[in-house]
């Protein structure tokens, strides 16, 4: 089967998985809403089209919401490419956001420098956290999946501890920090929306990660180790070091996503629990088939659904948890490798036959 046909098949397979997921969502909406028609309208149309006109504000909000998902999606891409099922993105996002906020509050710097420094320190924090599961994996063969998953909660409680005990603004009703300096905040691209300058940064990050993965020796090494570790070792690659590096990069991207989210959308740090972007990043990376270039599109899809569900819960009384169910269904169909395998096999057979025929024809042509 030609590569082109293969790609077409994968796209079709993805679309069918999404369609089935949405169909399941429809069933649930019909079951749970008093007014299914308007609920569907809220889910599918209202995010972009309201009262007969393009809803620019909503569209920009959706774009804005893709920002953290793009970062965590990229993070998962890098780690999964190395065959490292690291689920620590969640903790890295939270810690990155928290530390970036602290720099924003307590370390005054000149405008311009302040925001960059805050984001960078948040990024580094995310990267440092991932050293723990990575080294445990390489040195002690502890499953990175388990240790990183557990680490999320360790990180969360450490952040909450410091937030509550050391950095809380007691004058406020809810637990939150003092306001960040305005020099550390990321400006809005369009005022009055959730779209910040973090979005173009996410797009640039996407391009850089794609180049890193496909055009540099480090990205290449990560991918080869992901395919076959024994082969990589035998080829002379430093497997252990690269396994650590891939996870540190994943942590750094997550940390950067957390920092940009906190500095872009809030005036104070106020997360009371894991923000959920790490988990969404898993779905995004799976939708994007670990291909960095596809990450923004996958994030856009999730953000769109997210917004639709939000509107559904506001205007049609459908529980906001619906998005989780839809995500879970998509996840199932995408992750199931055998989904539509029979159709694929039929296509393969057809392709092989055509190829054989062409070879025969070419031979006959040669004989004449």
């Amino acid at each position: 089967m030609s590569d082109k046909r293969n790609i077409m098949f994968e796209i079709a397979r993805g679309l069918i998985a999404i369609t089935i997921a949405i169909a399941v969502a429809f069933l649930l909406i019909f079951a749970s809403s008093d007014d299914p028609a308007s609920a569907l309208q809220c889910l599918l149309i209202r995010p972009v089209w309201t009262s007969g006109a393009l809803n620019t504000k909503s569209i920009l909000t959706i774009l804005g919401r893709t920002t953290p998902m793009i970062f965590t999606g990229l993070a998962v891409c890098v780690m999964f490419s190395a065959n490292q099922f690291n689920l620590g993105g969640e903790g890295a996002v939270m810690a990155g956001g928290f530390v970036a906020a602290l720099v924003g509050i307590y370390v005054p710097m000149s405008a311009g420098l302040h925001v960059v420094a805050s984001v960078l320190i948040g990024t580094i924090t995310g990267g440092l956290i991932m050293i723990i599961p990575a080294v445990l994996k390489v040195k002690l063969k502890a499953s990175e999946m388990v240790s990183s998953l557990m680490l999320n909660y360790v990180v969360m409680y450490i952040v909450l501890h410091f937030l509550n005990m050391n950095f809380a603004d007691r004058s406020k009703g809810a637990t939150q920090t003092f306001p960040m300096e305005s020099t550390s905040l990321i400006g809005k691209m369009v005022t009055g929306t959730e779209l910040t300058w973090g979005f173009p940064v996410a797009i640039i990050a996407t391009i850089l990660v794609a180049i890193f993965m496909y055009r540099t020796r480090w990205g290449y090494t990560i991918r080869m180790i992901g395919i076959n570790e024994s082969f990589s070792k035998y080829s002379g690659m430093k497997v252990g070091a690269v396994l650590v590096i891939s996870q540190v990069i994943g942590g750094a991207l997550s940390g950067m996503g957390g920092a940009i989210e906190v500095l872009g959308r809030y005036e104070t740090f106020r997360w009371q629990g894991l923000p959920g972007y790490g988990w969404t990043g898993l779905t995004v990376a799976i939708l994007a088939k670990n291909n960095p270039i596809l990450v923004p599109f996958a994030a856009l899809f999730i953000a769109y659904l997210d917004r639709g569900c939000e509107l559904m819960s506001i205007y049609a009384g459908v529980p906001a948890e619906m998005i989780d169910i839809i995500q879970a269904v998509i996840f199932l169909f995408f992750a199931a490798e055998q989904f539509m395998a029979k159709t694929k096999h039929k296509m393969v057979v057809k392709g092989a036959k055509e190829e054989m025929k062409q070879i025969e024809l070419a031979k006959e042509g040669g004989d004449l």
């Binding site: 089967m1 020796r217 991918r223 076959n228 024994s230 082969f231 070792k233 035998y234 690659m237 393969v348």
Partner: protein, 519 residues
Amino acid sequence: MENNEYVVQMKGITKVYPNGVAANQGVDFNVRKGEIHALMGENGAGKSTLMKMLFGLEQPTEGEIFVNGEKVHLSSPNVAIAKGIGMVHQHFMLVPSLTVAENIVMGMEPKKGLFINYKEAVRLTEEFSQKYNLHVDPQAKVRDIPVGMKQKVEILKALVRGAKILILDEPTAVLTTQETEELFKELVHLKEQGYTLIFISHKLNEIKQITDRLTIVRAGKSMGVHETATTSKEEISRLMVGRDVVLTVEKDKAQPTDVVLRVSELEYTNDWKKKMLDKISFDVRKGEILGIAGVEGNGQKELVEMLFNLNIPDDGEVTVNGKNVIGVPQKDIRGYGVSLIPEDRMVFGIAGTGTIEENIMSDRCSDQKYNKGPLFNMKAMHEDSDKLIAEYKVLCKSRKQQVGMLSGGNIQKVVVAREFSAEPCLIIADQPTRGIDVGATEFIRKKLVELSREGAAVLLVSADLNEVMELSDSLMIMYNGKIAAYFEDTSVLTDSMMGEYMLGLKQQSDEEVRRVIHE
């Protein structure tokens, strides 16, 4: 109306694998009752696929199968066994920690109440063993018995299950000359008792010796059925590969100079407390090919692992041009100029879902030549990959094709292209042509000789007697973790001489073996 002359009839069989490989295209295959029928073809020609379908391991995409004139749908090996078909796989399907008798009755154990009636199992094994003249020790653990006996166990396993038609997949690949002779006697004995045997092989001599008729498959298609007696070896060879294969490699006399690889007093005991390497010492000089022959499992695999730091020996030294190799990262070993063609190419040789280009570049991705600052120099990579693909005649659509989609021979060519193009001063070739087609085999062998004559030291480890005898300038035989014999000149050797050392019937004196160390 089906012809009852045939016990097995496969008609118009087409098989397309999920990866798009059309392994069989409209193949007809008929076997008469009570004959030994050879199924021949190069590796990748589709003979294993055809037999997997007959044994129910794979289902044909198109075509029909008849057994004893009755149309059958062989959906699993259990169905095939019920129809009286048995298969002896190339890689034995035995449980090493169980006894011979336990292996033979596995899945159909005679019971005594809730427990397995072990005595009955032993009795059954002995009964069949005597009836068919296949002598095995029912009480021995499978891991302790020699390869030849394991094969007998496999055959008995099939017979006990009521097989009347036996498929033997390259049964002699792992046997010594003597064991092969013994196996052939047993097979003829089975034939005389009315059994039908399908014999998969690509060894011409064996086919001529034992089979009645032969079917040749080439590139997934049948090249017809032939009477063995009236078909010459040259004819078979021509039908198999579509051209006359030169089965010998021409080479000048070696002019060895300095020692490149030096192994001294290497010792290794494996996890099961078996001594795999017992104070092995030898060296390989620039410009010569030193062959290591021996039945598999006598320490060759472990030895190669030690030379590339894929395992750590208990004691001893390995140096390349005076530099220590033990415990040194592979990158540095490669930096010393060592190349390895690994025994298991799917595990060590390639990254299956990577492209051909990515697989060629794996050892050199950080070379100056292929990098411009932090980025890859894609142009240089493309140029060199295309050059190597052309030079090593890798059959593919482009450098972007997934390497795992290629046939075994072409995968090996990718591995060899990478290893040979690294300008090695020492090449370790572990089973370099195992399971690949004649064309690729010939190509790789010629390259090995060429590189050695250009000044590389070559250590060739191979279970293929022809290969080691043909290619090696000097040769040593490993038996039980020791060097059983060393021959400075391979031209005087014969198969049976080597067989005696390989089976441990003979052992050279220490003085004779020590000649392999050149001071």
